[in-house]
Structure formats: C-alpha cells, structure tokens
C-alpha cells in the first residue's frame, strides 16, 4: 500500500509533536523514522494509525485520504515497544482477538492463528498466559497479533528496544525477512540508527517535530544534507571542526588555528565562497594512521596526541587532541595506539563534508 503524508502537523495547545511532515512511502517499502527522543516519531506514527487526529495536513493510503477513517478500518497492524498484549488473555486469545472482532468463523480463526504462530516460532505456546512468556516471546506474540489480520500496512514503534542486544539482532533480521517476504508496507520507528540503516529501504530523519531528511540509507550516510543528519547518522558520530576554506590558483585549503588541510576542488568550491568559518565534517573511519610503510601526502595529514583509547573489538576508538581540538577516530587495533602517543593521521579528504554554520545546510548536497 502506498502511503502519502502531506503537510502533516500535530500540536497540543503549545506543544508541537509533528511539524509539517511530507513523506511518500512506496508500496512494499520499509521506512524507518529515526530521531532522538521526543522528536515526534511516535506522534507521526499514531496519526498514521488513526489514534491521534492530525491538527493539519492529510494522510492518504493508495490515494485515498484516510484522516477521518477509524483505526480499525485502516487495515493496519501495529507492534508496540511495550508489546501492549492483553494480560488477561492467553497467547491464542491475544493473536485471535482481531479475527474474533472481524467475526471470522471458529475454524478459520484456529487455522490462521496457528499459521501465524508457527511462522513466529511460538506455535507451541498458544495456551500460555502472557505473564509466562519471556520478553522476546511476548514481542513475537505482539508481532503475530499484528500480522494475523493480514494488514496492508505494518506500524512498529521501537519494537525491539526492550530486548537484550543479542535478541535484538536476531529479531531485527527476522522482522526484515518477514516484511520483505510478505511484501507489507511498513513504518518502523526507532532511535537506534544501526537498526534503521540495516532494515530500512528509506529513512526519515526527524528532529524536534521536523522532517530533516528522507532518503535511502547510503545517501544519508554519504551525502547528508544538513548538519543534524550528518551528526545523527553514523556511529561513532561524525567529527565537526570549525574551519575557513580558501581557494587560490585552483588549490583549496581548510584552515583554522589547529589544522591546515588541502581539500579537493569539487568539495571545497562552494565553501570557499563563504567568508568566515564553516563546519567541516569528518567521519571517524575516514582517517588512516600514518606509518613508515604508508606515509601521508603533504597537506593531507593531521598530527595530534592520543588522549583516550576505547577498544571496540576489531578497532579502537581513539580520542586525539589536534592542537587543542578534539577528534575521535577509528584505528586498527593491531596498531597498538596508547594514551600519550603522538600520532599522524592521513585524512581521506574526498569524504569530507562541509556545512554552512548559519543555515546548517550542506555546502555539497543542498
């Protein structure tokens, strides 16, 4: 089902939950709503579900405006962070509830519930009470209840954030597989950007009720259009340095008290036109430790002292002070970087991002 959201807003006397959201979701896509706590993800989702009435704007399913359609008539299934199961009913009672309300006959209910439960791997738990299930099993029941009525649109509100890290990983894969197998259009709310990056066909990044960006994951990562998106997408987050970009004779440089880097012309041109400082973004993974074996080219390196080392397993997250400016970079563990070391970093300047500090818009992709 195609979902179109036009100029959608929600406000409660003074408090803004969602502000003029515009979004097109193609049939069969999984779209992630990503953003920090309180940015309006749940608010937007509940408007799509029909639980909240929009203060303005429209929501259309397959071209049909559904603003006035009751939740039960929208053909949606929803999975909540709190699972929202009915504790006084058994697993069977929970999954069969939507079908009972649709007046499906007894045999049909039984067969469909069993099918969905088997699909979710909880086929042998149907007689259990909800309180007798683990968190992961409860979330499967909740997913089963959402799927059993064969909805046109699936809504997820942080369904995995109450599960432990390992289970989250498994469930993430399962949900994605189910969703693409069944081809159900889905909206998936999360504040975990790894979840969004790995599961979503497109990501809607939100902040303070405003839709900041809506694009495929790679685009958000490689070509962030705003400072917020650049800082929010990617883990560990992007480093930002205040620099002045100047160009003369086709050579562009990014300068500040701390650094002096040569930038590729195609990246720097627009920034050079700006008088004063711009924000330069550099991802922690876009640097390499300079060694005798791989020396850095002149004007493409930064030198600094190591102030902290966080082992992440395969790599170390190293905090470096470059003439007083803090940066965090990822360094191969085998390099054995220690606190107090003086290191030299080769910067992949072809991956550098530049932003106008006033408008917070990209000077590359806007």
């Amino acid at each position: 089902m195609r979902v179109e959201i036009k100029n959608l807003s929600k406000a409660w006397d003074g408090v803004v939950g969602a502000d003029n959201i515009n979004l097109d979701i193609s049939d069969g896509d999984l779209v992630a709503f990503l953003g920090p706590s309180g940015c309006g993800k749940t608010t937007t989702l509940l408007m799509v579900a029909g639980i909240y009435k929009p203060s303005g704007g429209t929501i259309s399913f397959d071209g049909q405006v559904v603003n006035e359609v009751a939740p039960k008539d929208r053909g949606i299934g929803m999975v909540f962070q709190s699972y929202a199961l009915y504790p006084h009913m058994s697993v069977f009672g929970n999954i069969s509830y939507p079908l009972k309300l649709q007046k499906v006959d007894k045999a049909g209910i039984k067969q469909r519930v069993q099918k969905v439960a088997d699909m979710m791997g909880i086929g042998d738990l149907l007689d259990r009470k909800i309180a007798q299930l683990s968190g992961g099993q409860q979330q499967r029941v909740s997913l089963g209840r959402a799927l059993v009525k064969e909805p046109q649109l699936l809504l997820f509100d942080e369904p995995l954030s109450n599960l432990d890290a390992r289970l989250r990983l498994t469930m993430r894969g399962e949900i994605k597989r189910l969703q693409s197998d069944l081809g159900i259009t889905s909206i998936y709310v999360t504040h975990d950007q790894v979840e969004a990056m790995t599961m979503a066909d497109k990501i809607a990044v939100m902040s303070k009720g405003v839709l900041q960006a809506y694009d495929v994951p790679e685009a958000l990562y490689d070509r962030p259009k705003t400072l917020f998106v650049a800082g929010f997408v990617g883990n560990p987050p992007m480093n930002f340095l205040d620099v002045e970009v100047t160009g003369s004779d086709g050579e562009f440089r990014a300068r500040s008290e701390a650094i002096d880097l040569v930038l590729p012309p195609d990246r720097a041109e627009k920034a050079a036109a700006i008088k004063g400082k711009v924000a330069m973004g550099l991802r922690p993974e876009d640097v390499d430790l300079v060694s005798d074996a791989s020396p850095g080219a002149a004007g493409l390196t930064l030198g600094g002292m190591v102030e902290g080392v966080e082992p992440l397993g395969r790599e170390d997250l190293v905090g470096v002070s470059i003439n007083g400016v803090e940066m965090r970079v990822l360094v191969d563990k085998t390099k054995g970087v220690k606190v107090g070391d003086n290191i030299e970093l080769a910067v992949d300047t072809s991956k550098i991002q530049l932003f106008d500090k006033e408008t917070e818009q990209s000077l590359l992709w806007a």
Binding site: P71, R74, G77, A84, Y86, P87, H88, L101, R145, K149
Partner: protein
C-alpha cells in the same frame, strides 16, 4: 583477586543476640495484644452476652445473681419473620449498591481518566468537594427529592420515600464520588498502548472499555465492591431517616427498633441481633480472605 575480609562478630553487649531478639519479639507481641485488648474484650462481651440471661462485666449471671444463666432465649428472634425481612432488605440495599456503584464508577472513572470533554476538570473537583459534605447535612434536601421521586407513577413506588430502592439510590449517590475517584485512579495507572492496540485490532471504544480495560482494574473493582457492600450492609442513617415501620427496615434499623423508648431494653437480645448481623460478613470475609490479601499486596498482578 582481592582477599575478602570477614568482619569479626561484634562482642555481645549484655544479653546474647538471640536472647535479645527474643525479648524484642516478646515486647512487640505484648504491645500489640495490649492495644487490641479493648476490642477483644468488646467482642468477648458480645458473644457471652448473647447466650446469657444477664451479664455483669464479662461475667454471665443467672436470675439469682450467681455465675451461670446460660440461655438461648436471646436468639428466639431467628424464628421471627421480621428479622429475615430486615436481613433481606439489608442484602437488597447492599447488592443494589455494589451493582450501581460498580457500574457508575467504572464507566465514569474510565471516561474521566481517558476522555477529553467539556467540564471534565470542574466535574473532578466538584465530586471531591461534594464528598466532603456529610450525608447528615443533605438529609432534608434528599427527603424532598425522594418525596418527589415517589410521585412518579409506578416506578415511584420502588425508588421513592420509604422504599428499599429509594434508600439504595441515596446510598449509591453518596458512595459515588469515592468510587469514581478510586476507579479513575486505577484507570490512570494503565498504559495507553494496550487500549490503542485494541482500537487498531478492531474494537470499538465501548468494547475496549469492557473487554480490555475492565479486566485490568478487576482488583480495584473488587476492593470497591467490598467497601460498598459493607457500607450498604451497615447503612443506618439513610435507611433510618427515609423508611417508616418494619416492612422496609434493614438490619441496623431493625436493631434500633428493639431499643424501645418505653419498655426496658433486653440488651442481651440486642447483642444477639448485632452478632447475627455480622455473621454474613464474617462468612464472606473467611471465604475471600485470600483474594483480599492479593488486592492489597499485589495490586494488579502480571504484566
């Protein structure tokens, strides 16, 4: 690895710790027993009095003034139809209250907790204020209301002045502020998500209330029903004021009628009727003890 040091036990001061603990427990029990003694004595007197000819303090006396005088004469009233009628009326009032207060409180509490409507805030504070008015202050006004209700053809006979229905109606009204507030509190504690899930699953708002929310507040409803039943069973002031004669009297009013102004009162018989009135409640308590403990200890169980 660090070595763990075990702190040496403190040297005993005066008594050994075990003995001290024993002393402490004895003291606690002694205090508790002492403080409930007056009540225990009261109940002891009540029970002794019901089977005695006459009592002097806790001592039963016979006609000659000696110890003894065991008699079942005080219980003769159980063969009297009037007391069974009073008991039936008591039961009717209490049950009507449980049903009326239960329905109105759960519906009203849900609406006040979950819905937005004009005057909601005002209504909430009004009910609290009204609850502060004691029933005594309203008796005369209620009298006129009941007289007026009694003038309505046909149904007036059931809910007007001097009818069990009228008494129940007044008692329900007096109990409602507390009930609504109590149930609103229980609904306030429920998460919205379950309700939203049910709405999406296809339930109407009424069905959500009935099938999804009500089962979650069952412990609260049970507690409210119990309080209401006791309040109805023991109701005295309202039935006494708005009923005349024995036909519509409930137990407490019947008890009062035994204490006549003109003839000397047989206190032992009054005690027996009092005990008789308590018996249904006692039986009820014995059978629901476990359930009640659950309500207070666990609140809503499960997740």
């Amino acid at each position: 690895m660090t070595t763990t040091e075990i702190a040496p036990p403190l040297p005993p001061v005066g008594l050994l710790p075990k003995a001290r603990e024993k002393m402490g427990r004895r003291f606690a029990y002694g205090f508790l027993i002492l403080s409930i003694l007056p009540i225990l004595v009261g109940y002891a007197w009540l029970i002794i009095a019901t089977v005695s000819f006459r009592t002097e303090g806790l001592l039963p006396r016979n006609a000659e003034g000696g110890i003894g005088g065991f008699t079942l004469r005080n219980w003769d009233f159980v063969t009297d139809a009037a007391i069974w009628n009073a008991m039936f009326n008591s039961l009717l009032i209490a049950l009507a209250m449980v049903i009326g207060v239960g329905i109105a409180s759960t519906a009203g509490g849900y609406a006040l907790s979950r819905m937005k409507f004009a005057g909601r805030k005002g209504f909430l504070s009004m009910t609290l204020v009204l609850h502060a008015f004691k029933a005594e202050m309203l008796l005369i006004a209620i009298f006129f209301v009941l007289r007026w209700l009694g003038d309505i053809p046909i149904i007036g006979n059931f809910i007007g002045f001097n009818s069990v229905g009228g008494v129940a109606l007044v008692m329900i009204a007096l109990e409602l502020p507390l009930g609504i507030w109590l149930m609103k509190g229980f609904f306030d504690n429920l998460a919205w998500d379950m309700e939203r899930a049910a709405l999406i699953d296809g339930a109407s708002r009424f069905r959500v209330w009935w099938q999804i929310m009500l089962p979650q507040v069952r412990p609260g409803l049970a507690a409210l029903s119990l309080f209401t039943f006791i309040a109805g069973w023991n109701a005295y002031l309202v039935p006494f004021t708005f009923t005349i004669g024995t036909k519509v009297a409930n137990m407490p009013v019947f008890l009062n009628q035994l204490i006549s102004d003109t003839a000397p009162t047989n206190w032992n018989q009054v005690a027996a009727v009092g005990l008789f009135q308590m018996i249904p409640l006692l039986i009820f308590f014995i059978f629901t003890q476990e359930l009640l403990l659950n309500i207070y200890a666990g609140g809503s169980k499960g997740s």
